[in-house]
């Protein structure tokens, strides 16, 4: 038992690092009251080290802590995505007005950020319902706090309150669903659940109810319609850095957990076609058709409503809802191609979405406004920012030669391969709609003249460097994407499946 735990711990280094970093950050916050930069450095170091450990885990495929967690390429992939976005968020925070003006609580901020990252890491690897609930809650609880980080601001605290009420209900629903699943299968481990379900002696309706309730929980995390309501409000109210982190990492973690849960629990191991990468869910319960509906609703609503937004953060919130819809399409098709497409999409999404939020943050720092109208003539006031925004938005729309196109391309590839043509068409039409609101922003930036007394906006070298760190991959992966595809292809492997 102890051996096993020790053995497991050695496979748990990324998470452990974060835990250690979290504790050190708390202590450092108390010790170095004069210089809180140390906390920042510490947390950055922690995340980077955890990333290194995560890289080290490449190629492993095993289960740790008695099947509580899986360490496999799939989880490693998501850990890396989450970790990289955490790095970016910490970098963003260096220049975030919201964070830098609350000197006293900075330690809190960074340590909570580490905790949040830890929760997401756990979500990526959780293979047991209990672990899933715990990881989800860890993530949620820290994000409730972080969403209300600028607690003096009304918006922020309102967001936080809504978030917690909404989140608590969702996890309640999920928990209730999990309890029913437990009742049906007698197992909490997803492999056990799969085994039990494979016997076929399960009441389908009950299973449906449980699944829908669980989907409600996942749907909340990935902001799928109709579980998305919190997203725009919280995104708008929370500090930009947190919004950006939620929009990428939290979504990634949610997807990781959802995919693992559904794929492993409902996999019909008799109908796995290895050469084509197609698999099938257990007879009698087509959870993927629920997800298909969810996906259509999510992207359509996200896009249609985004058209009406005037606050850029809110617009990006709806845009992120729409993107969740796109990614759900990849899950729907029940094939490794689809999963690989989702993974590719996440890599791409990481850069483009963080890039967009970063610019929102920089602009808000200067103009104090996130309103689309405040972007008038921005392209002339700061050409670099303007061009970068164009590239991020074009990428979000999914136009070549940007990485966003590659993400969409692979999603459609997976869909058409599995003959989900109608869904592909809906997805494609949706990306046309999305163009409309992205371009609205670009229009304000370039087609409208700046306000009279506004001069040009300049940024420091590190700020530009961070921007380039996001911008270059967005373009580069659009033109040369073999590495991410290779990586994603190698990362769809989950422990216990094949």
């Amino acid at each position: 038992m102890v051996d096993q735990i020790l053995e497991s711990l050695s496979k748990f280094l990324p998470e452990t690092t974060l835990v250690v970093a979290f504790c050190l950050a708390l202590i450092a916050d108390l010790v170095f009251r004069k210089n809180r930069g140390i906390v920042t450095a510490l947390s950055l170091l922690g995340v980077v080290v955890s990333l290194l450990f995560a890289f080290q885990q490449a190629g492993m495929s095993l289960s740790v802590f008695s099947g509580m967690m899986a360490v496999d390429p799939f989880s490693v992939f998501f850990k890396i995505v989450i970790g990289v976005s955490a790095v970016f968020i910490i970098l963003f925070s260096l220049y975030s007005h919201d964070v830098q003006t609350t000197e006293r609580r900075k330690g809190e901020y960074f340590s909570l950020l580490l905790a949040l990252t830890l929760g997401m890491y756990l979500m990526a690897g959780a293979a047991n319902l209990l672990m899933m609930v715990l990881a989800l809650e860890l993530t949620s609880l820290t994000s409730y706090i972080l969403a209300g980080y600028t607690k003096e601001a009304g918006d922020s605290s309102e967001a936080s309150l809504k978030y917690i009420i909404y989140g608590a209900l969702s996890s309640g629903l999920m928990l209730y669903g999990i309890s029913i699943i437990y009742g049906l299968t007698g197992a909490t481990n997803i492999y056990g659940i799969n085994e039990a379900l494979s016997t076929g002696e399960v009441n389908e309706i009950t299973l449906l109810i449980a699944s829908v309730l669980i989907i409600a929980g996942f749907g909340y995390k990935i902001s799928a319609v109709p579980f998305h309501f919190w997203t725009p409000d919280v995104y708008e109210g929370a500090p930009v850095t947190i919004t950006a982190f939620l929009s990428v990492a939290s979504k990634a973690a949610g997807f990781a957990m959802m995919i693992r849960f559904f794929k492993v629990s409902f996999l019909d191991s008799n109908v796995v076609d290895l050469p084509s990468g197609m698999w099938s869910s257990l007879q009698g319960f087509e959870w993927n058709s629920i997800l298909a509906v969810l996906s259509v609703l999510t992207m359509t609503l996200g896009n249609l409503v985004a058209v009406w937004q005037n606050n850029l953060k809110r617009l990006l919130a709806y845009s992120s809802i729409a993107h969740a819809g796109y990614m759900l399409m990849g899950v729907v098709v029940l094939s490794d191609k689809g999963l690989a497409a989702v993974l590719i999409y996440f890599v791409v999404y990481l850069f483009m979405n963080l890039g967009a939020f970063y610019i929102v943050m920089l602009v808000a720092n200067k103009t104090g406004s996130e309103d689309i109208d405040s972007y008038k003539g921005l392209g002339y006031r700061s050409p670099l920012l303007g061009v970068a925004m164009v590239i991020f938005f074009i990428s979000l729309t999914g136009l070549p030669p940007t990485a966003g196109f590659i993400g969409k391309l692979y999603l459609f590839v997976a869909l058409l391969d599995a003959k989900w043509i109608w869904l592909a068409v809906v997805g494609a039409l949706n990306s046309v709609i999305s163009l409309y609101y992205y371009v609205r922003v670009l229009r304000n930036m370039f087609l409208r003249d700046p306000e009279k007394d506004s001069g040009s906006i300049r940024f420091s070298v590190p700020q530009v460097a961070i921007l380039l760190l996001l911008l270059v991959p967005t373009l580069l992966f659009g033109l040369y994407f073999a590495p991410i595809v290779d990586w994603a292809n190698a990362s769809v492997i989950m422990f216990g499946v094949r």
Partner: protein
């Protein structure tokens, strides 16, 4: 001269006027006298070369057809056909050689005449350039050996005509007329083009020889005789346009807006004759039915325009309608089978009609100057009612004019007599062969009408006294550059140039050179053969001569009686048959008819389409933004006022939670929970109803008001609406969100149950 020399000369002849055009259009400002001498001399060279070609052709290669071709477009190895090349080229046969000379003569003399007539014009150099390109295109029509180049030059002729009619484009009427000429011609050209398409579709070539050869070999266009006839008639459509045949004759009288020498060159002698030339070129492939159509079109044209000519007072309009009428004659002549006669009339008519126009030009020129000297800007220098007595003032003009008039009226010793007589004889023969008696009746009647209105013109313009005696002092004979062409044309209107026998054209070189081509169409649909026709012609020759002379005589006598001796009061007669007179003065109301139907009709259609395009097509996709903005205001209000009460939330919550519980219970352990089922059903039903109402209230209320207007923009509207509806759900109240989440969960249950 060898064949090659002749062909080389032909190419030179073709290209010389183009050279003239190119030089003048670019450099006329830099050449002394704007290059009029250059253009004129080039055209005279052309004339001499043309005569040389005719000479060489008739003497050395009397019955040969000289051709040269080159590959213009090579389609390579075309699937289904094999190698396909489009060869274009020129050909010189007797028909072309004669036509070449006719065109060159008129063109050269018109150039000469224009030097005097156009002196001082604002775009003097440009004018000569246009004459150049016209000559080029016209010679192209004459020399081509294929339909493609025929069509090409055909359209180029249209272009030059457009440019020349619109030469004084500052006048709205001139630009209108130019436009009208081009468009009306285009309508005819479409027919011609369609005809060419029919031929090309089958034969994959444009060459006359190849096509005729294939037809003779039994290959019919698209496999049927009907299509052969159709092709013939469609090609004739080109002639209808260009030769101003009914029903497309309306452009020619308007074309008189151009300078008078242009009228002489284009709208009397050459361009309008192109149609006749086209029929002659394609005569071999015309079926009997096609020829019948041609005949009747020609006859109707001749009749209609002759009647109109009687009632016109503008000297050029009279001549214009006379031209249309004579063209009808020619077409009719070709149609009845009098091939040589029709073409002969073309040649002779070219000379005297060009002369008539130049003569009228001379008169107008003189009148214009006289009026200008008197400072009179109101009197129309072209109205024959303002003229009279010009005989003494302008003797050369008068005598030459008289000569042309005699020729057109068909008085013996003139060329016109020879050709007209042959056509009339042909129409009689036609009657004999086919029994269509209307054709000769129209023919002779029109002959009388022609004599009448032409002498009316002569009398009113030249005889008697001038209307304003004061003005007559200032009228002078035109300069030599203008009178020399008049004299030359008058000389060319004598019979001697065409036949030694003043009463028999058939004895001359012309009839020997121009023979009716052998028909290539299948025997069953061919018109009567040349021998049969000759036979019938022989019988009717004398009759025709007597009849035509009688008719002409009557016409002349009537004209003198009415306008010279005033025995008959023209006005009184006009008054007696007022409707008829008005009808004729207004040219049978053709213009009005076309204006109402074609022009106005098209414009209405275009307006409708524009509206359709802007409103319907665009509206379908468009307007989403404005529309949905409008709705926003409506629904937002609804939503805010309908601040949902706690009671309502209770309903929702109750329904959802109980439903979830019920589903859980009933499906897992239905027997045990059966007791509660009934009550829960009721609650569920109420809840669902409430939620529906709730949704409706949220967004649909606004929708309803607008749906009346929204049909057009429905698609965009719906997209906007759903966006809006879902947006309305985002109330900012977390409990509402939760209600919707639960609703969503419930719907998923129901959906996938």
């Amino acid at each position: 001269m060898t064949q090659d020399t002749i062909l080389l000369l032909a190419v030179v002849v073709l290209l010389l006027p183009l050279l003239s055009f190119t030089l003048l259009i670019f450099f006329s400002k830099r050449i002394p006298r704007q290059g009029d001498w250059l253009a004129t001399s080039i055209l005279f060279v052309t004339l001499f070369l043309s005569i040389a070609i005719l000479w060489g052709k008739l003497l050395a290669y009397h019955s040969d057809v000289l051709q040269t071709t080159f590959t213009w477009v090579d389609f390579g190895h075309v699937p289904g056909i094999g190698p396909l090349k489009l060869d274009l080229g020129i050909m010189v046969d007797n028909l072309a050689a004669v036509m070449l000379v006719a065109v060159a003569i008129v063109s050269a003399l018109v150039h000469l005449f224009s030097i005097g007539y156009m002196r001082g014009d604002v775009r003097y150099g440009r004018y000569f350039a246009y004459l150049g390109i016209f000559s080029f295109s016209m010679l192209g029509i004459v020399l081509t050996n294929n339909f493609w180049l025929m069509y090409v030059f055909w359209e180029l002729v249209g272009l030059s005509s457009y440019l020349l009619i619109g030469h004084w484009f500052e006048k709205k009427s001139a630009s209108d007329a130019a436009k009208k000429a081009f468009i009306v011609n285009r309508i005819g050209d479409i027919g011609m083009f369609t005809g060419i398409m029919i031929l090309f579709a089958t034969f994959q070539t444009f060459s006359f020889d190849a096509i005729f050869g294939a037809i003779q070999g039994g290959t019919l266009p698209m496999g049927s005789e009907t299509w052969l006839t159709t092709a013939g008639i469609l090609i004739f459509c080109g002639a209808i346009g260009k030769s101003a045949q009914f029903p497309l004759h309306v452009w020619l009288p308007d074309a008189m807006e151009g300078p008078t020498p242009v009228s002489a060159l284009i709208h009397a002698a050459t361009m309008v004759a192109a149609g006749v030339y086209l029929i002659a070129r394609t005569f071999a492939m015309m079926t009997a039915e096609a020829l019948m159509v041609i005949t009747y079109v020609g006859a109707i044209t001749a009749f209609i325009s002759a009647t109109i000519a009687i009632a016109q007072n503008d000297i050029k309009k009279v001549l214009a309608y006379s031209t249309v009428s004579q063209l009808g004659y020619m077409v009719m002549g070709l149609g009845v089978g009098a091939f040589t006669a029709g073409f002969f009339h073309l040649t002779t008519h070219a000379m005297f009609k060009a002369g008539l126009f130049l003569g009228s030009g001379s008169v107008i020129h003189a009148m214009h100057h006289a009026l200008e000297r008197h400072g009179d800007h109101h009197t129309d220098p072209q109205d024959i009612r303002n003229m009279g007595g010009l005989r003494k003032k302008m003797p050369v003009t008068f005598w030459t004019f008289l000569m042309y008039t005699l020729a057109i009226s068909g008085i013996p010793l003139t060329s016109g007599f020879l050709s007209k007589d042959e056509i009339l004889a042909g129409s009689l023969a036609f009657h004999e062969l086919t029994g269509h008696s209307l054709i000769p009746i129209i023919g002779f009647f029109v002959a009388g009408l022609t004599a009448f209105y032409m002498f009316r013109l002569v009398i009113l313009v030249f005889l008697g006294d001038h209307k304003e005696s004061s003005r007559s002092e200032s009228i002078h004979e035109s300069p030599a550059t203008m009178t020399i062409p008049l004299v030359l044309f008058a000389i060319l209107s004598f019979f001697a140039f065409f036949s030694p026998n003043p009463f028999g054209a058939a004895d001359g070189w012309f009839f020997e050179a121009i023979q009716r081509p052998v028909s290539v169409v299948p025997a069953g649909v061919a018109a009567a053969g040349a021998e049969m026709f000759e036979e019938a012609l022989h019988h009717s020759h004398t009759t025709a001569m007597i009849l035509s002379l009688t008719m002409a005589g009557i016409g002349i006598l009537l004209a003198f009686a009415t306008y010279y001796w005033k025995k008959i009061n023209a006005d009184a007669i006009a008054g007696n048959v007022k409707p008829l007179h008005t009808f004729l003065v207004n040219k049978w109301y053709f213009d009005e008819l076309y204006d109402v139907t074609a022009v106005k009709g098209t414009l209405v259609v275009t307006k409708v389409f524009r509206w359709f395009d802007n409103t319907i097509i665009d509206g379908l996709v468009n307007g989403a933004a404005s529309w949905t903005r409008a709705i926003t205001l409506g629904t937002r209000k609804n939503w805010e006022e309908g601040n949902l009460s706690a009671v309502f939330y209770m309903g929702v919550a109750g329904v959802v939670s109980s439903y979830v519980a019920w589903l859980t219970g009933s499906s897992l352990w239905s027997a045990e929970t059966g007791v509660l089922q009934g009550a829960w059903y009721v609650v569920v039903g109420l809840g669902m109803g409430g939620l529906t109402f709730f949704l409706f209230y949220a967004g649909v209320g606004g929708f309803d008001n607008r749906i009346v207007d929204g049909v057009v923009n429905l698609v965009a509207y719906l997209a906007g609406f759903f966006g809006l509806l879902t947006r309305r759900i985002q109330t900012g109240k977390v409990q509402t969100y939760i209600a919707f989440v639960l609703l969503g969960v419930m719907i998923f249950f129901l959906w996938f149950q």
